[in-house]
């Protein structure tokens, strides 16, 4: 197994773990961590793509790397925004779960989840 496929498999594993965490964990902080895991997996896949470009004769395709840098900035801002919201929510209510919804909303949403 060469490095590219090893990185690819690791990326896929991270994506899987992240997706699982994002969907199953009810706590927003854990969801956020899962989102970051998932994001890292995607970035790793981008890295593999750049490597594959190199294998095809393009000397280290720089475009995926540019995309990863942009993606990291975006994921960082998203995480910062989510943490700010979470902290504020904790200050307001003393809780940090998405489950404890106001009753008016829970009644309307019961059918879908």
């Amino acid at each position: 197994m060469n490095t590219a496929s090893l990185a690819g498999i690791t990326g896929a594993l991270l994506v899987g773990l992240g997706l699982f965490g994002l969907v199953t964990n009810p706590r927003p902080l854990r969801k956020l961590l899962a989102f970051n895991l998932l994001g890292s997996g995607v970035f790793l896949l981008f890295g593999v793509l750049a490597r594959r470009g190199a294998a095809a004769g393009i000397a280290a395709d720089p475009v995926p790397q540019a995309m990863v840098i942009t993606g990291i900035v975006v994921a960082f801002s998203a995480t910062a925004l989510a943490v700010a919201l979470l902290l504020r929510l904790f200050e307001e209510t003393g809780r940090s779960t998405l489950r404890a919804d106001p009753p008016s909303k829970a009644a309307g949403d019961g059918s879908g989840a």
Binding site: V15, G18, L22, P28, K31, F35, L38, G39, V42, L45, F46, V48, L49, R52, G53, D61, V63, P64, M67, T70, G71, V74, A75, S77, A78, L81, A82, L85, L86, R88, L89, E92, T93, L98, D101, P102, S104, K105, G108, D109, S111, G112, A113
Partner: protein, 502 residues
């Protein structure tokens, strides 16, 4: 090959496309530097200017009869990034400029900087977020590169989520957090799909991709991932759970923009993906799945709207239902058939008329809530006497949602209905008719108590000037019902099915 080479060169008037993005971004930066009081003024001065730019782009597309293209830095794809405006982009830009202008004028009363201070937190944030949202929307409607569209979508989310929780109540914070989780889930799936496409074809430019793409497992996986991500952001059933609390708890001007424009942005990219990137693939099955989800959205959204106690929640659930109609466009407008042009026009027109109608209704509902101090539907008895104009706006908006003539909603649903009959796909027609009836039901639930004779106690006098803003938006939705045939020809400009090689 001809289509590809023409797509790679910039056209006359292409600089306008860059200007449409630069204007609001410059507004954001200037607002940061100059502070709160100036932010409001900058936003309100820029909005008419932005409307002018959007109108000039539309005029340019109309005159040339072909999409406008601008290459950033003069670099052609695949290395560079192209901005592109076709008929659909042009009308979306115009609608965005109009709705944002109206929402901005409306919000002046809600977000003034108090006298004596230079900057207050909520107004400062609101005016900057509003301009940021506008920049992101224009980027989405002009983007010609899938990765660029990802960045635009993220900017949109970062501007939209804080707008939901500007007042800082726990309820709105929860709604915003939930919205953010769904949006992040959506964007990371989209990015994963984009990575797969890049890995397979070495470009993310829409024009280049559409000429290179072929049906392979990687492409289908990418399409599925990107579409799921976009659906989470568009709040299509069953990924709609975040929308009603977020849209119903936001300030009225923000609700109007979120419901009218923000969910349409990810829908717009879904359309770009399936009609511009993947049209050469056999898309019948995925299109049918999308339309089935749309049908379920129409039925569930409408039934849940019927059961709401609060006016703003009712309108928000109606958005869930109306989004469903948009997705009926996919099986009807795909391929090259006699009915696809009409289905395309119907889908676009539904996007536009819902934007105007829903923005008007949210603004009117916001005024009702401000004037009465609540928005419980059971407490609206006698509203017609004290706020006739707002009730009229809710009625006009309702007309378009139900699909009754004369309104943009009627023409849109009629075109979609005819397309589904002509193509023999009758299940969609039945869903559309049922959705219209259910919409009639929930609009009636609001209007019937409003026309009852009862005395209402008002918390504040009804603000006539701001009611007029909502009325202007509602009239736009009605006017779309009188669109001449030239308008429908305009919507077809740059539609890939017409330029594709059979």
């Amino acid at each position: 090959m001809q289509a590809i080479t023409t797509a790679l060169t910039a056209t006359m008037g292409g600089l306008l496309l860059a200007l449409a993005i630069i204007l609001p971004v410059a507004g954001v930066l200037l607002s940061f530097v100059l502070g709160g009081r100036a932010a409001e003024r900058i936003a309100l001065y820029l909005m008419p200017a932005g409307l002018g730019v959007a109108a000039m782009i539309a005029l340019g597309v109309w005159r040339s009869g072909a999409p406008l293209v601008y290459l950033l830095g003069g670099w052609p794809p695949p290395l560079g990034i192209a901005l592109r405006a076709d008929g659909f982009s042009a009308v979306m830009l115009l609608t965005t400029a109009l709705v944002i202008l109206c929402a901005g004028l409306f919000a002046r009363a809600n977000f003034p900087t108090p006298a004596g201070v230079n900057e207050a937190r909520a107004p400062f944030a609101f005016w900057i977020l509003l301009q940021g949202l506008w920049a992101a929307l224009n980027m989405v409607f002009l983007g010609g590169d899938l990765f660029n569209l990802y960045v635009a979508l993220e900017l949109l989310t970062f501007a939209a989520v804080p707008l939901v929780c500007l007042d800082g109540r726990a309820e709105t914070l929860l709604a915003a957090l939930r919205y953010l989780v769904f949006a992040l889930f959506g964007s990371v799936l989209y990015l994963l799909g984009a990575a797969l496409l890049y890995g397979a074809y070495g470009t993310l430019d829409i024009g280049l991709l559409s000429s290179r793409i072929s049906a392979s497992p990687a492409v289908w996986a990418a399409a599925a991932l990107m579409t799921t991500g976009l659906l989470a952001k568009t709040a299509l059933f069953p990924l709609h759970l975040w929308l009603p609390p977020a849209h119903a708890n936001a300030p009225a001007a923000a609700s109007a923009i979120l419901s009218a424009l923000v969910v349409k942005a990810s829908f717009f990219i879904t359309v770009r993906l399936w009609f511009d990137v993947l049209p050469s693939l056999p898309v019948e099955t995925p299109a049918a799945i999308l339309a089935t989800l749309g049908s379920l959205a129409i039925l569930f959204g409408s039934v849940l709207a019927l059961r709401q106690e609060r006016l703003k929640l009712l309108i928000a659930y109606s958005t869930v239902a109306q989004i469903g109609y948009l997705f009926l466009m996919f099986p009807l407008a795909a391929g090259l058939h006699p009915w696809t042009a009409d289905a395309w026009s119907g889908g676009v027109l539904q996007t536009l008329s819902h934007a105007f109608a829903k923005a008007a209704m949210f603004l009117a509902a916001g005024l009702v809530a401000e004037t009465l101090g609540h928005d419980r539907i059971s407490g609206l008895r006698g509203l017609g006497k004290v706020m006739p104009m707002s009730v009229f706006v809710l009625g006009l908006g309702g007309l378009s949602l139900m699909g009754l003539p004369p309104s943009g909603g009627f023409t849109a649903k009629w075109l979609l209905l005819m397309a589904s009959v002509r193509s023999g796909q009758w299940p969609w027609a039945i869903v559309m008719l049922a959705g219209g009836l259910l919409a009639g039901g929930y609009v009636y639930r609001v209007l019937a108590p409003a026309f009852a004779s009862a005395d209402l106690s008002l918390k504040a006098p009804a603000p006539r000037n701001r009611e007029r803003i909502a009325l202007a938006l509602a009239l736009c939705a009605i006017l779309l019902g009188f669109a001449p045939s030239g308008f429908f020809a305009f919507l077809q400009i740059g539609r890939p099915a017409l330029t594709a090689i059979p």
